[in-house]
């Protein structure tokens, strides 16, 4: 059991640690709760698209993989993908992907606006009458960092500012975003305390705060040893 001196020291440590750390402790608890409460598939925007609508129809395939391969013998990998505009071949040629139409084997033309909207309509289960689109060629929005341009950004203009991103070179769905994803991203940033890249969990700020948080939790746990203890009743 703790001596009075030890318990006094523990109580002071807990009191000052929580004053210093309090805000971050609450941020960890709130961001953690948000992340465990929100279904991760919903956060990923799986409700925004129904990819089961996209299937390959072998009968639509008027040009065979063998023919494609004899035209591009240097290919290291060949894939056949379904898009809303029909099957597409994706070839790996010395690291760079090449997209060919599955109908005629010709390289795909960059996707136009109407085609992009047609793809979005095929993927999205809901109504698209409010949607607008924008071709991104210059800079990648921060919310889809690391993706390859050019991309069609389809703004659904719904209550959660949902967007679909469709590759203008292949017609493939690249990703989707909405406000709950954006909030999740902010919560993650706050949780790992990396306010720049939002991905470095090894930052020294987090080390310092985590060490102090450990001391806070340990001092709190030790205080529990005496928390429910009462002194003997004595007449005043």
């Amino acid at each position: 059991m703790l001596t009075p001196k030890q318990s006094r020291w523990l109580r002071k440590s807990h009191k000052w640690l929580t004053l210093f750390l309090g805000a971050q402790l609450l941020i960890w608890l709130i961001s953690g709760l948000y992340m465990v409460l929100m279904d991760i598939d919903y956060i990923h925007g799986d409700h925004l698209v129904d990819e089961s609508r996209l299937t390959l129809d072998a009968s639509q395939l008027t040009i065979s993989p063998e023919t494609i391969l004899s035209r591009y013998p240097e290919a290291t990998r060949l894939e056949l993908l379904p898009t809303a505009l029909g099957p597409v071949y994706k070839l790996n040629l010395t690291g760079k992907p090449l997209y060919l139409s599955g109908r005629d084997g010709e390289p795909l033309e960059p996707l136009g606006q109407q085609a992009a909207m047609k793809i979005a309509a095929r993927l999205h289960p809901g109504d698209l009458s409010n949607a607008s689109s924008e071709l991104l060629t210059e800079s990648v929005p921060a919310e889809i960092g690391g993706r390859h341009l050019p991309l069609w950004q389809i703004n659904l203009n719904d209550a959660f500012d949902s967007r679909l991103y469709i590759s203008a070179s292949s017609g493939e769905l690249v990703t989707k975003r909405h406000d709950f994803w954006r909030l999740f991203d902010i919560m993650w940033m706050l949780h790992i305390m990396d306010y720049d890249t939002r991905e470095d969990v090894h930052n020294p700020l987090l080390t310092g705060f985590s060490l102090l948080a450990l001391l806070t939790a340990l001092s709190g746990a030790l205080l529990l040893l005496i928390a429910f203890k009462r002194g003997e009743e004595e007449p005043a």
Binding site: P4, K5, Q6, S7, R8, R11, K12, K15, L19, G22, L25, L26, W28, L29, I30, G32, L33, V36, L37, I40, S52, T55, L56, D57, A58, L61, P65, E66, P73, E74, A75, T76, R77, L78, E79, L80, L81, P82, V201, H202, N203, L206, T207, S210, A213, L214, A217, L218, G220, A221, L223, L224, I226, A227, F228, R230, G231, E234, P235, A236
Partner: protein, 353 residues
């Protein structure tokens, strides 16, 4: 309001009992993720991707294979199968088709059209290709638990490398894919995630979206909020810094239970209990100033301060009326306070002898 306040502190203690251990686990595992180099927790540092060689032209056409599976599915009266994606790749120097369908992934050799079903020798060769180390590899072992974990087919194999890291290579014999490498580091990472996410039965991969985690995270937030409430109350009460009333001047006089002067003490910053015990332990306390044990009670001879919620809960109404308070709950001020019992007096006598 008062009831609310005392409840915040009691709630904080009760919630501490419930989620305290998990809070320590969260901070420890969080620290581990923060401090341990990613490469230490990753089995793929010993993994090699096969060289990208140019594709070998298949002898069997894709249409032939598609119609073959469709027939097969029809015979088994399985619902209509949708083709999701086709890949032509090279496996063990042979062309291979992989067909991703709504009913799973099927693989066929492009040279013979036969369904892929790797034998032990092929599995070992594939594992060897995928692994940088030189140590010998075990025979392939069917692993059903791993098949579930990685969403593999019934022919899902594990091959153990006899290295220091305990590397295990997982291969799906029907798709011909190396699904994963695991070693001590990656298993430790798995354990850390399990602890951090409170997911001890990760049948289909780890998840943080389940009820146990959600309830504990909610209780933990309540713990945090009740703690914040107590902290704010202490701040306002001047428990951290006493604003306004300067008490740097003056003396505190300690009296016996009968009112005889015992000692005069120079005022110290902080609470009255600390002020009384500034150089030696004159008044005993069990809980170290939490307002819980009730042992540090004194009687304010002049104007007694307003009772805190802790005192309302701990002290009898008649005692409160006599000016008895818990010395840990009030700031050290100029004035006179008296001990409240013979036992306290004996303790003081021992301390000052």
């Amino acid at each position: 309001m008062r009831i609310g306040m005392i409840n915040a502190r009691s709630l904080h203690r009760i919630l501490g009992l419930i989620v305290g251990a998990q809070l320590i686990i969260w901070t420890l595992t969080g620290l581990a993720f923060n401090l341990i180099d990613d490469r230490q927790l990753d089995a793929n540092t010993m993994r090699t991707k096969p060289d990208s060689t140019t594709l070998i032209k298949p002898a069997v056409a894709l249409t032939q294979i598609v119609s073959e599976i469709t027939d097969q599915q029809k015979n088994n009266a399985i619902e209509q199968m949708n083709l999701k994606r086709v890949e032509l790749a090279t496996l063990l120097e042979r062309p291979i088709y992989r067909l991703k369908t709504s009913n799973g992934t099927f693989a066929f050799w492009g040279d013979t059209g036969e369904a892929v079903n790797l034998d032990n020798e092929q599995l070992i060769r594939l594992a060897r290709q995928s692994y940088q180390g030189e140590t010998s590899l075990s025979e392939p072992i069917l692993d059903k638990a791993a098949a579930q974990r990685y969403g593999g087919s019934p022919a899902f194999y594990r091959i153990d490398a006899l290295d220091e890291q305990g590397t295990q290579i997982f291969i799906d014999g029907l798709s011909g894919q190396v699904k994963a490498h695991e070693n001590q580091g990656s298993r430790f990472k798995q354990l850390l995630f399990m602890l951090h996410f409170i997911d001890y039965f990760p049948d289909n991969g780890l998840s943080f979206n389940h009820l146990a985690t959600q309830l504990i995270a909610f209780a933990a937030l309540l713990l945090g909020l009740s703690g914040a409430w107590v902290l704010m109350r202490k701040l306002v009460a001047g428990d951290y810094v006493s604003w306004g009333t300067s008490n740097s001047e003056g003396q505190l006089t300690l009296l016996s239970p009968d009112g005889e002067p015992l000692e005069s003490l120079i005022l110290a910053p902080g609470n009255l209990l600390d002020g009384l015990n500034q150089d030696r332990s004159r008044i005993p306390s069990q809980c170290g100033g939490g307002g819980q044990c009730g042992m540090c009670r004194v009687r304010f001879v002049e104007q007694a301060p307003q009772a805190t919620p802790e005192e309302q809960a701990r002290l009898k109404q008649e005692h409160l009326a006599q000016g008895i308070r818990l010395s840990c709950q009030h700031n050290c001020h100029q004035g006179k306070v008296a001990l409240t019992s013979r036992a306290q007096l004996r303790f003081w006598q021992k301390a000052t002898r």
